[in-house]
């Protein structure tokens, strides 16, 4: 039976996809700004964050409104509560893109400490994980969501590698390099945090589709 409620759930679905698209764009631009040392692009991401924050509030309000008016159950309830959580995770990811851009602005006028190799690789992993998580949400694809969760250690390893290299090969040898090394350390940290939030999204999608809690229970994957 067609329900009017389904139309309202479609609006929520569409808004979450818009939030995801804006977040993906913020990450993409923050990484381009870093790679190409583009000040204006970094500033653009920072300036556009207000739009994402505003949309987060709209989605939150819509979810609360749907719960209050429809008192959803079962799959509907899981979709709305997961939608709220995904919304919050996406907003945090967008904030991390802003953080990356702030670090870019800190180093953009200074000579590059070293050629960027691992950080762009980490950014590729982060972008792929975000894209796969959103695809998993659209297609209710549990296998793809699991793949996202299982990719997270790869990001952790790469971030540790970047950290060890910057600390041992640069900061330990030349403490004056701190103003160029620390922003890179933080960027690696921001990218790794993006992967963590994306992992949360993927875990939420598994709950939404299968009502299975894998968060803090990796053995359930």
């Amino acid at each position: 039976m067609e329900r009017h409620f389904d139309e309202e759930l479609k609006v929520l679905h569409k808004d979450i996809l818009q939030m995801a698209a804006l977040t993906q764009e913020a990450i993409h631009k923050s990484i381009e700004a870093l790679k190409n040392r583009e000040k204006a692009m970094a500033q653009g991401v920072i300036d556009a964050d207000g739009k994402i924050d505003a949309l987060e509030l709209v989605i939150d309000e819509l979810c609360i409104d749907l719960i209050a008016r429809h008192q959803p159950m079962a799959g509907d309830l899981r979709f709305i509560t997961t939608g709220m959580k995904i919304n919050a995770e996406l907003e945090r990811i967008a904030d991390l893109a802003v953080d990356i851009c702030q670090r870019v602005l800190e180093i953009v006028d200074k000579p590059l400490l070293k050629p960027l190799v691992d950080i762009p690789e980490l950014s590729v992993i982060a972008q792929r994980m975000v894209r796969d998580a959103i695809d998993a949400f659209i297609n209710k694809d549990v296998e793809l969501a699991k793949k996202v969760v299982l990719s997270d250690p790869q990001a952790d390893n790469l971030r540790n590698k970047v950290q060890a290299e910057l600390l041992n090969d640069y900061l330990a040898r030349d403490p004056k390099a701190a103003d160029r090394a620390v922003p890179l350390l933080l960027i690696a940290r921001h990218l790794e945090r993006i992967c963590d939030h994306t992992t949360n999204i993927a875990e939420d999608i598994i709950y939404m589709v299968e009502a299975k809690v894998v968060r803090h229970h990796p053995e359930e994957l």
């Binding site: 329900r3 008192q71 159950m73 079962a74 799959g75 899981r78 009502a211």
Partner: protein, 251 residues
């Protein structure tokens, strides 16, 4: 350990097969809700538990309904103690056209061989206290029960059951004639009563089932489709038919 067990329970009204191979286990001292669309058999199942269906002509049952290790469907089952042990509250409160006092002691007078005034007074006080009516009505015990508000009448009917010390309270849409505030108060009462009684409620109000019950059974066309903890039924039902019903897609 289950308070009530049904094993391959079938019931027919004439040729109409109203309950089909119902297997269920009702835990003691909790509230179990039975939900399902009109005509699914939920009230029929409830009425099996104190053999109220026997009053309907052409009813035939087979299978087992075990309450405290005794199959109550056995022909030799004694219905008087059964209906004392398993009491029922109906959709519309149905106090007798007697005083509040006489309503409550009615069962005791029927069941007890001798009664004395002090004992009856004590039963009235205890029963009214357990449904939180004592303070309101202690000075009006001789007034006609039919003059009470709907909610008070429903509480009085519950007090009348409690007076004969049942184990199980069956409630068939007990709040459907009450406003939201009165409904909330009856639900609160149910939560208090479950410490002492096993409560089974039939309700069309899914939010009510979700709010008050510990276990929930979903019935459809005479079959018990799914029976599980309430939080599971309302967040992650296992059967698509349950999901369709509770999310309003059924029909």
């Amino acid at each position: 350990m289950a308070k009530i067990l049904t094993k391959n329970l079938n019931l027919w009204y004439g040729t109409f097969h109203a309950l089909k191979d119902v297997n269920s286990s009702f835990r003691p001292n909790i509230i179990t809700a039975i939900i399902g669309p009109s005509g699914c058999g939920k009230s029929t199942l409830l009425r099996v538990f104190n053999r109220m269906n026997d009053l309907i002509e052409g009813v035939r049952t087979n299978g087992e309904v075990i309450i405290d290790k005794e199959n109550i469907l056995e022909p030799k089952a004694d219905l008087v103690p059964l209906r004392k042990k398993v009491g029922m509250v109906f959709q519309r409160p149905n106090p007798f056209p007697l005083s509040i006092y006489e309503n409550i002691v009615f069962g005791e007078k029927v069941h007890a061989e001798s009664t004395n005034r002090d004992k009856l007074d004590e039963i009235v006080e205890t029963s009214l206290k357990s449904v939180l009516l004592w303070d309101e009505l202690k000075d009006k015990l001789r007034r006609p029960a039919l003059g009470l508000s709907l909610e008070q009448k429903q509480r009085l009917c519950i007090a009348r059951l409690i007076a004969v010390k049942p184990d199980v309270l069956l409630m068939d849409e007990p709040c459907s004639t009450l406003d939201p505030q009165a409904t909330a108060r009856i639900e609160e009462l149910m939560r208090e009563l479950k410490n002492d009684y096993t409560i089974i409620i039939v309700t069309h109000n899914m939010q009510q089932a979700a709010r008050v019950s510990d276990d929930t059974g979903f019935m459809l066309l005479g079959e018990l489709i799914e029976f599980a903890k309430t939080d599971q039924i309302f967040t992650a039902p296992q059967d698509k038919r349950t999901e369709d019903y509770i999310t309003g897609r059924y029909g």
